[in-house]
Subunit: 214 residues, 4 copies
DNA sequence: CATGAATGAGTCTTCATTCAT
DNA sequence: AATGAATGAAGACTCATTCAT
């Protein structure tokens, strides 16, 4: 999956980084409030702290901003996940703490995740697969944990079951963000983590027991 | 939750129904392809089979079309669910068939569900809560089944666990639609139903056993 | 000055009269509030008590309504003036009472006069001269009085002076309507009549005296 | 009476002045021909020498153009009046020359005055009082002259008579513009000035004489 | 590199007018 | 004669993008 580069007429790489950081920061807060389509490039420039002309020195099209934002969000989520998750550990406890860590990241980055969800479709045809691929990579982190657990006979799951379960964990984490209107009045994030973890593990341990029974 | 009425300058209720049916049908297919914001009112009119002037005889603002569409989708999903689900049955089998029915509706209406997901934010401030409420009603159908199962001692779940589980079922069903890019190459809808049902039930039966153990 | 006929597809002359009366009544009140351009044909139809389709049975273009309205206002003003003014009398007292009568009509029909003033320009090219001619006829009523007074040696004014003076009387009467925002807080209509009459007469009596001096 | 500012997204005040000058110039000539409502924003932009986009950099709504135009006309009339009228002089001759000057301005700016008259109603609710106030200020210039004349015993008029007379002068001046269809074929502007001045003065001198008689 | 004025294609929405019933 | 649904041309306004300074 080749990287999708956003063209900039500015040469100084360091400056590009600085300006795009400003831009992303400004844009995220705007996208949260009004969505991508209702946000104007002028607003983005203003929120970024520079002029519309300067904005276009660092991007080519408005959609580039969306891509940059979404890309950044993924990177951030992934970064924070990697910090917290040691995929090497193939134990039940390891999985539990990975889930907890991931859910907490989702809690911290609710708005960002919501933005991704609702605006992903507006990405250009060529940016979308790249972004979806990033998402798959994150799902794969959970797959990796589950695979290792299987290898270490902690659980007994087929390849397919692992894939599905990893997707479930991923989506259930996001759900905390995109269904907050329903969930947040019913659960604290800690409750949510505990209960979901328990439900997820039930789906695994059973199989392990089944395996034992044979 | 008061109904959100969309104003029409046409008096004949029957005609309003006919035209709005055309409109919704045309709009859904456009929203699927390009999203709400990238669809113009003229395109909607054309896809509906009438002129832009006529379109505006049946709505006031472009956003009304979105509301009409989303509202219709919910109603359709709900209708199809009610056909298939007999909430009265409080057995494991009843739950299984309810999940299967729901997942199949989600499979049939993937595009529609996707539209709802991605464009809901563009609904007017007053339409959104109304729509979210409809969603809650659907979640409640699963809650009802689980409650009855608990009452009939089929399972042992707390109020909160039931609520969370119902949300999970709901979201996992939608997931088949909004993550199709990842799931459809891995699973057939039947596989998906079987495996998810199994995972969901594990979360319940375990507790039932726990209950037994006491 | 040939009459400007407004075409109607309805044959029954009596019905045309009835419908147009409704139409004019409704339209005047709308034009007062929002002006001709901001009033829609639908609103006119509604205010007239019939449908848009029926409206167009009695006119051809929206501008016809304006013409009908303006025409009616002139007729009404003229009618009321003729009732009150006996142009035959060529005395100072006769002039005074004519002025008073005219000013009172202007007071009664302020809104209508305002409408005429502000919307006259929107009349069709062929309707305008016809309407302006009606206005001239009204000015002429004052000219006639002044001429008769001159003939009877009540005053001594040249033809030109008479024309100008007649215009002045006419405009000063309208002024009560179109400058009400300034005048009505300063004068009652009676004050206004008294003071203006006095000023106008000063313009005449002087000349009369001058005439005497010769 | 607080000033009514028209918002511009352009920062450079000098440029705003330049562009608005162009805009006003273009708009006046269009409004003269077809009135405010029949003039499109595109036409205004074109007549101003720039694009529709640029037009909207300097105003927010079409009505702003009208306000700008009307405001400018008042300022211009006032400016030219102040040049010509020395309100300090409280003599008959001073009044005569003030009237003459004012009437000549009205002659020069006939079209503009007509525009004001016919389109004033289309001004926004908040702009209208501001504009009317400007008009009052101009009336006041004549009041001031008359007051001074009274103070200097040139004439004897009550406060109310002065106010009314000032209004009359003002309206009679405008009348030259808005009744040109009737007046211009009968009088030259010089005739008009002479005759009206004479009529107006008759209204004053008489009173002065009356004062003398007592 | 930064700025922000200029551009005009594109969008929503209105409304006068028509015409089948 | 009356109705009101249908039409689409036209208009106000927006906003992504460019480019001269």
């Amino acid at each position: 999956m080749k990287n999708v580069e956003v063209h900039s007429s500015v040469k100084d790489e360091r400056l590009i980084k600085v300006r795009r950081d400003q831009m992303i920061k400004g844009a995220v807060s705007l996208f949260k409030q009004k969505g991508f389509h209702r946000t104007t490039t002028r607003e983005i420039a203003k929120a970024s702290g520079f002029s519309i002309g300067t904005l276009y020195e660092y991007i080519e099209k408005k959609e580039d901003v969306l891509y940059l934002v979404v890309d950044r969000i993924y990177d951030e989520v992934k970064e924070r996940l990697k910090e917290s998750i040691d995929t090497a550990i193939g134990t039940i406890e390891g999985l539990k703490s990975a889930i907890a860590a991931y859910f907490r990241v989702m809690d911290d980055m609710q708005d960002e995740v919501l933005v991704m969800y609702q605006e992903a479709k507006s990405l250009t045809k060529d940016a979308l697969p790249y972004v979806l691929n990033k998402e798959l990579q994150m799902v794969q982190m959970f797959e990796d944990i589950l695979k290792r657990m299987t290898k270490q006979k902690e659980i007994a799951m087929s390849e397919k079951e692992i894939q599905l379960c990893a997707h479930n964990i991923f989506v259930l984490g996001q759900m905390w963000g995109f269904r907050r209107w329903a969930l947040h009045s019913m659960f604290s994030i800690e409750d949510y983590i505990d209960m979901q973890t328990s439900l997820i593990l039930d789906g695994l341990t059973i199989r392990e027991k089944k395996g034992d029974e044979k």
